[in-house]
């Protein structure tokens, strides 16, 4: 009920929900994947599953940068933090993510100099404020965040900043979608495309999903109505036997993306031949590394990084959940050993992770909207 009061246009939401019902073939079990972790969070938060027909399943995709980062990378980054006179700077979301020997926060408690920054440029500021130390920025994120790291590296180079480097874990969304579509145990009908990631890459990179794979994809905003409208657009395409890229989030996402951002990324980064994703394994050309012309600011080249590989705890089924094969609650550890307070897997750490979202909004059973409550507002 709480959320219903906050919805604008409850009538329109209701109409859209009816339209979804009308477009749905009761004989078919729909499996739609929302790629972006922000969407996963919004879907649970708004209780959108309650207004969808039972035969529409929303599968949570790989678009949570914290969740897909393999544990070994955290340990690699923290091995640099353990060296003398190094400041480890990262976004707040990284702080509680467990490595094999604890999270960045736990390393801080043991004496490592770990700082939260809200912007990569603040890591530069930190370097200037601490000229006798080396500041390493632990960069994560999809194309939404990578351009900011790129510009930060351009600045560091332009200023000839000596005591700054980036430990680059940036990943790209398209190969992850491809890996999921290639997965034999996966059947999907269509995709709810990422919102803010698409402001950078635009809509064109998704075209192969429609043309080669025959799946519709709709780039989508973050309001309840955005999500419902995108589902309508997907269902319409499915009903008409079409597969194309559509942009529901036109008010923010330009079809061509952000050229300045793409240019900065291209200048600073190049594709890694392969990169390990938590739960998805090694995916070729799926991550970014820092180009040779920026080698001096590349923490992986500047420091001796052990290249640690750690397999996830056997009992944890993060991979299956991440691919949408299992629902969060079907994992043996869910809400037992693995909770947001004491996460075993990364999907439980970030609020964008499907396990944490499911735990917070479904498992704890807060008041969410239902058809009955929705009907009562119109």
């Amino acid at each position: 009920m709480k959320f219903v009061d906050e919805f604008r246009n409850p009538e329109l939401i209701m109409k859209t929900a009816e339209e979804i019902r009308r477009l749905t073939d009761p004989q078919w079990h729909y499996r739609l994947m929302e790629v972006c972790g922000g969407h996963t969070h919004a879907i649970y938060r708004f209780g959108l599953k309650d207004v969808l027909p039972e035969n529409i399943d929303l599968i949570h995709g790989p678009g949570c940068p914290v969740c897909v980062l393999p544990m070994g990378r955290i340990d690699d980054g923290l091995s640099i933090a353990a060296q003398p006179n190094v400041i480890f700077a990262a976004f707040g979301d990284m702080m509680r993510v467990p490595g094999a020997h604890g999270s960045p926060l736990e390393h801080k408690a043991r004496g490592a100099d770990v700082r939260i920054v809200y912007s990569p440029t603040d890591a530069i500021k930190l370097a200037k404020a601490n000229p006798d130390k080396h500041v390493m920025f632990f960069a994560i994120g999809f194309e939404t965040t990578a351009p900011s790291t790129a510009l930060t590296l351009q600045r560091a180079k332009a200023e000839g900043l000596q005591n700054f480097s980036v430990f680059c874990n940036h990943v790209t969304i398209i190969p992850a979608i491809r890996a999921i579509l290639d997965s034999p145990d996966m059947r999907l009908d269509g995709f709810i495309g990422p919102g803010h990631c698409s402001t950078v890459i635009g809509c064109r990179p998704y075209e192969w999903i429609a043309t080669d794979e025959g799946k519709p994809i709709v780039v989508c905003g973050f309001e309840p109505l955005d999500l419902l409208q995108s589902i309508v657009m997907l269902l319409r395409q499915l009903k008409n036997g079409e597969a194309k890229v559509e942009n529901q989030y036109k008010r923010v996402v330009p079809w061509e993306g952000n050229r300045a951002a793409l240019k900065a990324m291209k200048e600073v980064f190049q594709l890694r031949p392969y990169f390990e994703w938590r739960g998805l394994g090694f995916i070729s050309q799926s991550a970014l590394r820092i180009r040779d012309s920026y080698a001096q600011w590349d923490a992986e080249r500047r420091f001796n990084v052990p290249g640690i590989r750690i397999t996830d705890p056997k009992a944890a089924q993060c991979g299956e959940v991440l691919k949408g094969v299992l629902k969060p609650a079907q994992c043996k550890l869910f809400a037992q050993e693995c909770t947001p307070e004491s996460p075993v897997g990364a999907l439980m750490v970030s609020s964008e992770g499907s396990c944490a979202a499911f735990y917070n909004y479904q498992h704890r059973k807060p008041v969410t909207i239902s058809n009955a409550t929705l009907a009562s507002v119109v």
Binding site: H41, D93, L105, V252
Partner: protein, 112 residues
């Protein structure tokens, strides 16, 4: 204990996809491509480096991610976006994030 520590307990962590609307108050005239932006009442310096192909002007609204303006948006969309953040329970996190830009705490530390 710096202010980062206090934040950690309450931190939901959803920063990566957080895009915060802000209104440009003043554009810096030097080459740093930055602007003073009002983010839900908090004024912070935001980087305009990613909008150099479609430069915003004073009074424009932008969507901000990790301290960088990533797209120009209409005022209507900015209000929508604030509403979404509110509904997602993330407006506090957004304000905290905006406050964090510029690393004020580091500078305070240096002074003391």
């Amino acid at each position: 204990m710096d202010r980062g520590d206090e934040k950690l307990e309450s931190m939901g962590g959803c920063r990566m996809c957080l895009a915060i609307p802000g209104k440009i108050i003043e554009i810096t005239s030097d080459a740093t491509h930055s602007a003073l932006v009002d983010v839900m009442g908090v004024r912070r310096r935001v980087d305009l480096g990613l909008l150099q192909e479609d430069k915003p002007k004073t009074g424009d609204w932008v969507l901000i991610h990790v301290g960088f303006a990533m797209s120009k948006i209409s005022e209507e969309e900015a209000l929508d976006q604030m509403h979404t953040l509110q509904m997602l329970g993330e407006s506090e996190a957004a304000i905290d994030e905006a406050r964090g830009y510029g690393l004020e705490d580091v500078e305070e530390k240096r002074i003391t």
